[in-house]
């Protein structure tokens, strides 16, 4: 105990993060190193780059391309839905704003698996949406087990992640800046382009990252709403691990995916960093 106090006095409070440091090395860094190890070895344990190169395999390329396409669609739809919404929200009185934000957050608190189940019920061929369409004598839709259903589910699951950062950045814009622009004779669209848009760009960027990355790497939604017919890169990795027990290949593809995520984030961060600079002046 005495020795501990002496150490404490010497290194001070920094020592308190010791347990976390050990934890982090053991359960974050070590596992990631293991992924790298598996990625660069074959099942016999000797060095190979085949697992990495296999991303250029036709099936994998197709899955990666589909993942990017679906993630982009999902991000764009979320953005198009959220931005007007944030603007509408921002015009309401503060207590009503809080209430509506509460309503947005509430569905997020329900188990996401059950929310996907609900979309399965709604979208299936003999499901509720088709029953309503029948009732209205409209043609039926059959989108369950297609990429469209996956995009639907993703938009539903990730929409709050886009709304909240945009809304937060919009709520922080001071009203007097907008009023000053109005006093100086700026029209509404000028105010939007010159003030609102640049000042909300950081929020938009973090929203894009928070939607794009999970959409790119998801395997659950595509599994359940795609009915095994929509193969994203996440599904391929999951199958490599849980069905085919080809851990080396799975690790190789995971590594590629990780690099992909980091690269896309770096690009967006870089972009938002630059625009933040210009937004100030």
């Amino acid at each position: 105990m005495k020795g501990w106090w002496r150490l404490m006095r010497k290194y001070g409070k920094q020592l308190l993060s010791g347990p976390y440091l050990v934890w982090m090395i053991g359960f974050i860094l070590l596992p990631l190193l293991l992924v790298v190890y598996y990625a660069f070895t074959n099942s016999a344990g000797s060095f190979t780059t085949a697992n990495i190169i296999s991303i250029f395999h036709k099936v994998h390329m197709k899955a990666l391309w589909l993942s990017i396409k679906i993630a982009l669609q999902c991000t764009v739809i979320c953005l198009l839905l959220s931005y007007p919404l944030a603007m509408i929200l921002n015009k309401l009185s503060l207590s009503r704003q809080n209430f509506i934000v509460f309503l947005f957050v509430l569905p997020m608190w329900m188990n996401s698996m059950l929310r996907i189940l609900a979309w399965q019920l709604l979208l299936s061929n003999n499901g509720i949406i088709n029953a309503i369409l029948d009732f209205l004598h409209l043609p039926n839709i059959s989108i369950l087990n297609t990429p469209t259903a996956v995009v639907f589910g993703m938009v539903y699951d990730f929409l709050p992640y886009m709304i909240l950062p945009i809304y937060n950045s919009m709520a922080r814009i001071r009203k007097d800046i907008v009023e000053a622009a109005q006093d100086l004779g700026a029209k509404n669209h000028t105010i939007f382009i010159k003030i609102i848009l640049p000042l909300t760009l950081p929020g938009v960027m973090s929203g894009i990252i928070m939607v794009f990355v999970p959409a790119l790497t998801s395997f659950v939604i595509s599994n359940l709403l795609g009915g095994g017919k929509v193969l994203l890169i996440g599904n391929i990795i999951e199958a490599d691990f849980m069905q085919f027990f080809n851990w080396n290949l799975g690790a190789g593809l995971s590594l590629v995916l990780m690099v992909f995520v980091i690269a896309s984030m770096a690009v967006m961060n870089n972009y938002s960093g630059e625009t933040e600079g210009t937004a100030v002046w």
């Binding site: 934890w23 059950l114 189940l117 609900a118 019920l121 499901g127 999970p214």
Partner: protein
């Protein structure tokens, strides 16, 4: 005027999109028919079956136990870590924060797989591995909630207390704790939400026989329709509603109290 009603229409449409699926689940949970589209009369049967299903109840209690233990452990480790990181020099701080961001930015599937590789190699999978995994992805949320609060505190009051003869622990609880407690609480709550809802990381790190609600529902969904799940959704939705309402009322009261004391 036209624009205002247009706003209202837009808000309504978004809310229909958000709540229609939940409404469907709630209505079907009282439907006395296995069909999704035919109303077979009102029933509480699915609720009765839900509570008598040991599989669902086991998963429920596992989820609660896991969430609470993981969140408490993460809150403790994370708060200590935040205090440590706060007192570090600039470079060490940047390294620690960078590492803290890894599980936040990394794809869940990669985090899950990486930990699975580790656990399979050294311990085998089970409840303990899910617990470790949950603690690991929860700690960053605690640190990121506590650190800003620590940055707002003044170190001089703490040092003054020490100079006046207070023991470090006493000074901490009298001076620093009141200022960071709200951050610790929101870190804890964020951990709870993350743990409750996690699927991917649990899926890869759980052993056979261990199931949380998420992984149990996933398995059942792949088998086919189970109306008990509708009943479960209704109950979980009501619980979320009650919890969130409670938190909102509390935070509203807190801000009001703060305003009054100013």
């Amino acid at each position: 005027m036209v624009k205002k009603s247009l706003d209202k229409v837009y808000l309504t449409l978004i809310f229909i999109f958000l709540y229609l699926p939940i409404l469907v689940l709630i209505v079907l949970s009282f439907n006395n028919s296995k069909s999704r589209v035919i109303w077979g009369g009102f029933t509480f049967n699915w609720y009765r079956e839900l509570f008598s299903s040991s599989m669902i109840m086991d998963a429920f209690w596992t989820t609660i136990l896991l969430t609470m233990t993981a969140s408490l452990a993460a809150t403790l480790l994370g708060t200590l870590a935040a205090i440590g990181i706060h007192s570090m020099k600039k470079n060490a701080r940047a390294i620690m924060l960078g590492a803290t961001n890894i599980p936040l930015l990394n794809a869940d599937i990669v985090t899950g797989i990486s930990m699975m590789l580790l656990f399979v190699r050294f311990t085998g999978l089970g409840f303990h591995t899910v617990l470790i995994a949950h603690i690991t992805f929860n700690i960053p949320y605690v640190i990121l909630n506590v650190l800003p609060k620590l940055n707002q505190t003044s170190r001089y009051t703490y040092e003054a207390a020490l100079d006046l003869g207070a023991k470090p622990l006493y000074a901490f609880f009298k001076i620093v704790w009141p200022e960071i407690s709200s951050g610790v609480l929101s870190g804890f709550l964020m951990s709870v939400t993350m743990s409750l809802d996690d699927f991917s990381i649990t899926y890869f790190t759980k052993g056979a026989g261990v199931n949380t609600l998420s992984t149990m529902i996933y398995t059942e969904m792949r088998k086919g329709i189970m109306p008990q799940m509708y009943a479960l959704s209704t109950i979980l939705f009501l619980m979320a509603f009650a919890l969130l309402l409670l938190m909102n009322v509390k935070s509203n009261r807190d801000t009001k109290l703060a305003e009054r004391s100013c």
